[in-house]
Amino acid sequence: MTAPPTTVGRTAARTTRTLWSGRAGYGFVAAYVVLLIAFGLVPTGYAIYFAFTDGGGSFNGLSNFSTAVSDFRFAPAVEHVALYLAWWLASLVVFVVGLALLLHRLALQGVSRALRFLYYVPGALAGAASVMVWLFVLDPTVSPVGFLLRAFGYHTFGEVIAPGHLPVLFTLIAFWTGAGGWIVVMYGALNNISPDVLEAARIDGAGPWQTAWKVQIPLLRKWIVYMVILAFAGGTQLFVEPQLLSQASTGVAGRDYSLNQLAYDFAFQNNDVNTAAAVSVELLVVGLVVAGIFVARSGFFDAD
């Protein structure tokens, strides 16, 4: 944008540029819109259609929803997902922001780049593969950190995956696979804070804690809200971790654990796609409502 145009060609060049960039914008958006329609809107509509009809395709009101809610697996699944979300969101906000601030402070000492890379690496593994890694880590017999597990009193895989441990284990797995990307995003957001502001804080006598608490975190608020909205949506859709754990433990832990697994079971074990769709529509509604609350309360779309 800063290329110096010649006096003669200035008008023409500007016109061309405006036209071209406008078209490019549509081009970029078009690709996204096509994908959104094909893999987002159409299937959503399809699921909503399924959720309100019976196996024969005729409208049956909310009966699929009541079937889902009255199923014996539903309440435990809601409880599991809520517990997991509490652990996952809390750890995500505290540790991601904390580690990003730490990275930012270390930036001058040169280790920051290496650490950023290190945080990001687990996220580069594909979802299911990184869960597989954990299945080995959590088995005291074969785990590289088996001594640690034994120190806590866990001698068999079965003891490690006791039902009470699952929310924490899934949080560990999800944090390890997913938090690195967010740390890098937060770090980028921190870099966007003008050095003048930090300089002013320092001159006013703010230490690292005060700077972080009173200046940096308030300025990161929108990023944190953005992260929480996406993490909430992702967290309610918990599936890969319990599903793989269920297979690895031959069904001992993680079967019918989350709402998404329940939808999956409805569709494939009970041959009831309509109730499965009802569960997924419930998840969509919960995700949208929570996102709406966060957006409204945080002024997410307010101009700076």
């Binding site: 006791a162 909205i229 949506a233 001992v252 939808a263 569709a267 796609v273």
Partner: protein, 454 residues
């Protein structure tokens, strides 16, 4: 039945979770997955089986890792048949992988394998309704061949009098034991469960660390509750089940297990877990187990040296006149009704279930096809691996499987694993969990549309 599940590609396109992307897209992706995964079954009645146009092409065969050598051997012996061999988890532990895939294929109208091995005996409960299985006794396999199966072996494959699958092996339970060790320690092989329990308690004090069995696997109910004639799984009709878990027949076995678990001579680890393999595999004095334990577990997984392992009949309760067996798996072979290659599929199916080359010489389990079973036993005898003759107890046990335990659509293994195993690990007793077991069975049965009594 012997597949280790952890090696299986568990990543399915349905329900894959995405953590990134816009909210709508993230939510919708899962919706997309669910919506695209239909369960629309096409019902095919037995009499009206209409094969699709027989266009030939490669023969797609799905097997678990234990049956892979069978498919490979067939390919080697029949190089003219173009085969596409796929390994999957064999539906072990009620994983439902096959059913999930078939309902997807039913929606996309393509992709069905021609022949599938399943480690479960209950596949016909859904596969017939889903229109997936071809009727085998209506011209595809000659009656003269079918008459060779052991008495009742193909019962789990029959729906309304039509045969929809072929039993691969019988998995009658027997008592495996370490013969030289028993002799060295001066123990007698127990004939009754009472003697078995007494010996288990004795071993715990005289040789701590040694085991008389394991109750840590998902098939523990089939291994212990079934032979004790516990009526937890009485399939009373196509969609009816009677569940009794607190009768005397159930509690007698539950308290036996509790006692031995307390004495630590009954393990709570799965025999296929890394932990069992490392710490307990070399300390087995006795172990109730299905016929396939000999080859698949002792010889294959534990690498127990030759001339040690022997077989005795399952103990009986002193109140009972004769010994009764349970059954752990003994998978089935299904043929796709959608196959464009029925002739080749039938040829493979016949070979894999009846040929001596596989069933007698290579198979880890006791063949369901009687002539092959005879040769299998002879081969086991001549292999010199086992201590003593294992034929008589295995043959006897094949006819002693208690018929009161049926094959429903829900998986008893899955129910036991999810309901009891974590609580047993946490130190609760089986006796105290029997009512919870019943509730769980009833819940899962009802979810599959079963009428549960009492």
């Amino acid at each position: 039945m012997t597949a280790k599940v952890r090696a299986v590609g568990a990543h399915t396109p349905c329900g894959t979770r995405r953590r990134s992307g816009l909210l709508a897209a993230a939510g919708a992706l899962v919706l997309a997955a669910v919506a695209a995964c239909g369960g629309g079954g096409t019902s095919a009645s037995a009499g009206g089986f209409h094969p699709v146009k027989q266009t030939g092409g490669p023969l797609t065969v799905w097997v678990d890792s234990s049956r892979l050598p069978a498919a490979k051997l067939y390919q080697q012996q029949h190089p003219e048949v173009k085969m596409d061999i796929v390994t999957y988890d064999g539906d072990a532990n009620g994983s439902n992988y096959l059913r999930t895939k078939v309902s997807l294929f039913n929606r996309t109208r393509k992709g069905w394998p021609d022949v599938v091995f399943s480690s479960q005996n209950n596949e016909t409960t859904w596969a017939v309704d889903a229109g997936f299985t071809a009727p085998l006794d209506k011209g595809l396999i000659p009656a003269s061949t079918l008459s060779g199966w052991a008495q009742g072996a193909n019962a789990p494959c029959e729906v309304n009098g039509t045969l929809y699958c072929l039993r691969n092996d019988l998995a009658q339970t027997v008592l495996w034991y370490n013969a030289p060790l028993m002799k060295q320690w001066g123990y007698q092989v127990p004939q009754t469960w009472e003697q078995y329990q007494a010996l288990g308690q004795k071993v715990a004090t005289e040789h701590p660390g040694y085991l008389v069995g394991s109750a840590g696997d998902s098939w523990a109910p089939e291994l212990y509750m079934w032979p004790s004639k516990c009526g937890a799984n009485q399939i009373a009709g196509p969609k009816a089940v009677t569940v009794e878990t607190t009768s005397a027949n159930c509690t007698r076995m539950a308290s036996l297990l509790d006692t031995l678990i307390t004495h630590k001579s009954m393990s709570l680890s799965s025999v296929f877990s890394s932990d069992f393999d490392k710490n307990q595999a070399s300390k087995i004095l006795m172990m109730p187990g299905p016929s396939w334990f000999g080859g698949a577990l002792f010889q294959g997984t534990f690498k127990t040296p030759a001339h040690q392992i022997s077989v005795a009949p399952m103990p009986r309760w002193s109140a009972d006149a004769a010994s009764t067996s349970g059954n752990v798996g003994g998978g089935t072979w299904l043929m796709s009704a959608h196959s464009a290659n029925l002739k080749a599929a039938a040829a493979f199916l016949t070979w894999v279930t009846t040929s001596d080359d596989y069933q007698a010489k290579l198979a880890p389990g006791y063949p369901a096809y009687a002539p092959a079973a005879k040769n299998w036993l002879a081969k086991q005898g001549s292999s010199g691996y086992f201590a003593g003759d294992i034929s008589a107890p295995l043959q006897a046990a094949a006819n002693q499987v208690w018929p009161g335990w049926g094959y429903g659509q829900f998986s008893q293994e899955a129910v036991w694993a999810a309901t009891l195993t974590p609580k047993l690990t946490a130190g609760q007793s089986i006796v105290s969990l029997l009512p919870a077991w019943k509730t769980a069975i009833a819940n899962y049965a009802r979810a599959d549309g079963y009428k549960v009594s009492p």
